[in-house]
Amino acid sequence: MNFEEIKNKLRNYTVGIAGAGGLGSNCAVAIARVGVGKIIISDFDIVYESNLNRQYFFKDQIGLRKVDALKANIERINPEIEVLDHFIKLDENNIIDIYKDCDLVVEAFDLAEMKKMLIETFLSELPKMPIVLGLGMAGFGKSNTIKFRKAENLYICGDEISEIADNNPPLAPRVGMVANMQANTVLEILLNS
């Protein structure tokens, strides 16, 4: 497929992204650059200075809602992409409604319990939805531990081990690797469908 063919195909799809932090912002930008038609993104947080070590925001966006800042950044990169944003804390009661019409959902939360909530809610209520997970990317180095595996409709990106801690923070390179691996998985699923 040449890029025109790729763009023409991707234009017809809707991708959900749950969370607009390190994984969500970087993954959204990658799929917007390639031309996924519509992106539905949700987050309840605002941009903090401490986010700038890994998240796709700028210093002059500190204090803005992450969903608004991300929508603005995508608009600057590729104005053809439709972005539907929700300033909301996702939970088991609202997540299905928000993402049910997507072709697939990218899990881009930071907290393990939120990742668990997303997986269990979809497996219970919409078990066929493809879910692209980001799991394990704290720290630096160890590039070859970051991997990909598939378990039915769960697509798992990350080392599945490295958990964030005060002395093991999430940083742009490894978070970006996993976010882009998620974006790459999105393309693989959509372009092969």
Partner: protein, 67 residues
Amino acid sequence: MKITLNNRPESIGKEQVSVSELLELKNFTFKMLVIKVNGKLIKKGAYSSVNIYDGDDVTVLHLVSGG
């Protein structure tokens, strides 16, 4: 019996095990897990009542924070 655990073949020296027993046998000591048996989600409350048999396909996801 032989099962598939996270896409890999595994031999277990018993005819059947509960999900809890399997987690113990395989040293999954983490708290934040998502478990699927033959594609079906097994919630935490059912770990000791759901059994795994020969040929079953088990996925264990250990959820770690970060993103």
